[in-house]
Symmetry: C2
DNA sequence: TCAAAAATAGATAGATCGCTCTAGTGGACG
DNA sequence: CGTCCACTAGAGCGATCTATCTATTTTTGA
């Protein structure tokens, strides 16, 4: 089945978009690096580059979102999970030579004011991440409202740390931000335990 | 003095870059919207678009950095300053229709893997912000090490909240992130006072 | 006042952009 | 065996990209 060509296009696009941005990546470069025929791109994506962009955002966003569930497994310690999550992010960013951080942030900032379908795709991805993180924290016994605030704090700190890490070529922002979020989670858990004991 | 043309080019570029990114903005569009002669762009910036980009990053980055000093004035309450800082950011983002958030984040993510001089400019700007915030917190009586960690937390949370706010078209990320950072500052101040009392 | 320098003005080069088009290939199925 | 259809393949279109070029106008300073 030749639909592997389609997958190669999406995967290569995902890598190029997150590194050079959407506007900074040409369709010729995509098909060349994906070893795909040029005609196939418009065969699989009749909506052109924008349709490809939207799909790349949704698929790579969903893939990355699975990491949240992978770290915050039910029954595990959410404090340790938070620490591990940021530590893993730092390793991943460093190992890619500070090239690959968030799969959609670069595109998100680029298209939020220029392409409504792509902006919506980014919003859906972020909403999905926030919902995932919120649910995992609720399962840890935290109140829903507090969980949602922590989810925002977690995603925002991670995204911001990624921006700094890529520009500064350092994992320090990720480590420091991770420590801060870990502290917030620890405090929330402690407060919740105290309330239950009373 | 005709150097106002040069300033118009820089200012207009700054606005366009932060909204559509560096690669997504053409030099023709810049001179058109800046009401500047096309030849003037290459007269003032013989290094072309990249030189313009670097200068835009440095100038608009320095301008934004002054906000840090404006909010964390010596003698003022750092907790209230943090709250005000994020509140002002939220208002600013909303009033621009979620178009203008961080002046350099969009470009930073775009060029960190494609243009070393522009990446370095972004790194210098971020370093400047971190140094400013660190100094202001040190002046508030916090230990230098703790101040620097809080500075990272502050900038990272703000940057990440900006990414989310623009895509979600909501100020909630900025408000929630602001509350988290404000809490961290409050806690650091309280801990420092307790240490001094002992 | 006049020459030199600075800035304006825009035509245009050469490359690349996203995209369309037609032709051809290979395999599945009647 | 022949037909259909998904996919491959790439030439090429018009538009746009960055940048250079020459010519002209404006400003500056001796």
């Amino acid at each position: 089945m030749a639909t592997e060509t389609r997958e190669r296009i999406v995967q290569r696009s995902a890598e190029l978009f997150r590194r050079q941005g959407f506007a900074g990546t040409g369709v010729k470069q995509i098909v060349a690096e994906a070893s795909a025929p040029f005609g196939s791109l418009y065969h699989f994506f009749p909506g052109g580059k924008e349709q490809l962009g939207e799909e790349v955002i949704r698929t790579s966003g969903a893939l990355y979102g699975q990491l949240i569930d992978a770290f915050y497994v039910p029954g595990a310690d959410p404090v340790a999970a938070t620490r591990s999550f940021f530590a893993a992010a730092a390793v991943s960013v460093r190992e890619s030579g500070y090239a690959d951080a968030c799969p959609i942030a670069t595109v998100a900032l680029e298209v939020s004011s220029t392409s409504e379908p792509m902006r919506q795709a980014c919003a859906d991805v972020f909403d999905g991440w926030l919902d995932s993180a919120t649910e995992r924290l609720v399962e840890c016994g935290l109140p829903r409202k507090r969980s949602r605030a922590l989810a925002f704090e977690l995603i925002a700190a991670l995204e911001g740390a990624f921006v700094l890490a890529r520009a500064l070529r350092s994992t320090e922002p990720i480590e420091v931000a991770g420590a801060a979020v870990t502290g917030s989670v620890r405090e929330a858990i402690a407060k919740q335990r105290a309330r239950r004991a009373a």
